[in-house]
Point group: C2
Chain length 361, copies 2
């Protein structure tokens, strides 16, 4: 057996160092005499883990003091409801930018709780670009409680390189680019990320929220969907997903060992460049996204021939390059190259693509 | 280093065999070339895991075909909202039996969504017994959507030995006794259990729901809090807590290897008997629960002297018997002896109690 290069869009690769440490500590962590999975969430041993996870998030992302850091459950999909239920209290309205399936789902869910203004959409070109409306296209901060974006679009491979020209509170789903590039937290009201792409295993969501925004939610909001409850209880209102948070902490330590997010970003830019540079000169493969909006994390590409795409995916899998099949709405291939994908993995993919191109030209 | 006997109320001990298998498969599971944590939830490899987990739940608990089995997130606390939001649609009313803190919290949360009738409470005697109202004390099935119980009360160490005399749909929180004793699923509308006591790690909740009960929920129910969404999508509407479900599956395999729930129940009865028999004749320690309602899983006991209790907990910890401190509302000690606690652990505890009694009589 040997480990493959896993290009899955999520859950996805974790750093081998993290898995090895988790393996080593599986039956006994430190001098606790037990697995982290067996620790009471109220124990001193576990408290040290969750506190250190929060501290590392604050350090690595340079989180200002007036922001709360929370670990919650339910995936990004639960955030689609939590954001409007908790923030949509004054104007009961919000702006949404529709840049793909996840932004669309977020807007649909929000319509249960607030008036949703769809300011722009890139649906006309299969979400292959980021729409950039002028400032006057947005509602004013007196008309909406927030403006919502999906910062990096996992399925379509686009990302914002500059933020929307709104003066409203900005909320961003950063599930697929959290800690892959430097993000200025102070520009946002809420940031959230399902862990299973860049941060850890599925089952925990990182939420960073400006304190003044998370007061009383809409009436009828479940206690467990109330930001203030989790913030006031340091994510220990009820039993949190203890083991997922532990792995998350190991990933944070790994990021720190690499020099922090700015250094990780350089590596990610280098990895993405290897792939995009090849795509830009290939006669067989082409990227599906306009160059200026390309994601560093998710790289969709096609040959234009569905049979050839299928052949590529099959042969790549046999070569240990797995989960390259694209999302059904884009077709072709998608390489997700999150933090834990080593540069060697991207190079191996490009080498394989070159070989495939030579054989199938 | 060596593993301790962990009497934590949850998260709590897992079978050593399960941890060892998880350890072995941490970097590569089967021939996948990756950790289960890294598997796409849409992959064939992961599909086999989640399907087998569901199949084993059905087999072990003898779940009738007209029930859905779901794995969801958010802990029992999220179920406190999901139950009334999903079931409270016709009468918008429900009966609750208040047998402890968790039943009380469930009732409080339900009051946001339905009229709550508190049929009985054992608060008058610190929840040290199960109230047993006559049939006419309950609402009729035409007046309420369901009747709610907490089957085993983790904090207070009580459990139902016969079900309430209601003709309404019965809903039970079985977080602390799921798969520890035979439960006739067909007698219930909804059963749910946070995994972190008897079933696996924190971060996944098992829900078993009678299909006809989970249609359209109350207006404003978040998509992720809608039973029907999870049921219709085989718990794969969004990314489930993949690794927690994998460990859960290993625990199910372990239960099966022990001969199934009926055999596990015999072992649990024998374990509990060792402890209760000792308590019943001890001059120093006494149990806090009326004998007929004693839990097989959670055994609170006191010396009646807070300083002596503290001394006991401290010395027990030093002897490798950990997390014995009782809940602050009961005081004293509590030994949680879930499925994964071996009989040797209970015997070691009783031996230690005997020694402590001799030294402190």
């Amino acid at each position: 057996m040997s480990r493959v290069y896993n290009f899955s869009a999520g859950p996805s690769m974790l750093p081998e160092e993290v898995l090895k440490q988790a393996q080593e500590e599986m039956l006994e962590c430190g001098d606790s005499g037990m697995s982290v999975m067996e620790m009471s969430h109220r124990s001193k041993a576990y408290d040290a883990i969750i506190k250190e996870a929060e501290r590392l998030v604050r350090e690595l992302m340079n989180v200002p003091d007036n922001y709360k850091v929370m670990f919650v459950q339910g995936g990004g999909s639960t955030q689609f409801a939590m954001v409007p239920m908790n923030l949509g209290v004054k104007c009961k309205a919000a702006d949404y930018l529709i840049t793909g399936q996840w932004a669309k789902k977020a807007a649909q869910e929000a319509e249960k709780y607030v008036k949703v203004n769809k300011i722009a959409s890139s649906a006309d070109k299969t979400f292959s670009y980021i729409p950039k409306p002028e400032a006057d296209a947005f509602s004013s901060k007196d008309e909406v409680d927030y403006c919502y974006i999906c910062y990096n679009n996992t399925i379509y491979g686009t990302r914002y390189t500059e933020l929307p020209k709104t003066d409203a509170v900005l909320v961003a789903d950063i599930s697929s680019n959290a800690m892959s590039e430097v993000i200025d937290v102070s520009k946002f009201g809420i940031l959230f990320a399902g862990a299973q792409k860049n941060l850890g295993p599925a089952g925990v969501v990182l939420v960073i929220a400006r304190e003044d925004l998370i007061g009383e939610p809409q009436e009828g909001t479940p206690t467990m969907l109330t930001y203030k409850i989790h913030a006031d209880n340091d994510s220990l209102y009820n039993t949190p997903p203890t083991y997922a948070i532990y792995i998350f902490k190991l990933v944070l330590e790994w990021i720190k060992s690499k020099g922090g997010i700015a250094e990780i970003q350089k590596i990610n830019e280098a990895k993405a460049k290897i792939l995009y540079d090849y795509l830009d000169q290939s006669k067989l493969f082409k990227g599906t996204v306009v160059p200026e909006d390309r994601s560093l994390m998710n790289v969709p590409f096609v040959t234009g021939d569905a049979d050839l795409d299928a052949k590529f995916v099959k042969e790549a899998t046999a070569a240990g390059l797995v989960n390259l099949k694209g999302h059904r709405t884009v077709g072709g291939m998608r390489a997700s190259i999150y933090n834990a994908m080593p540069v060697e993995g991207v190079q191996a993919l490009v080498d394989f693509m070159k070989k495939f191109e030579a054989e199938n030209a």
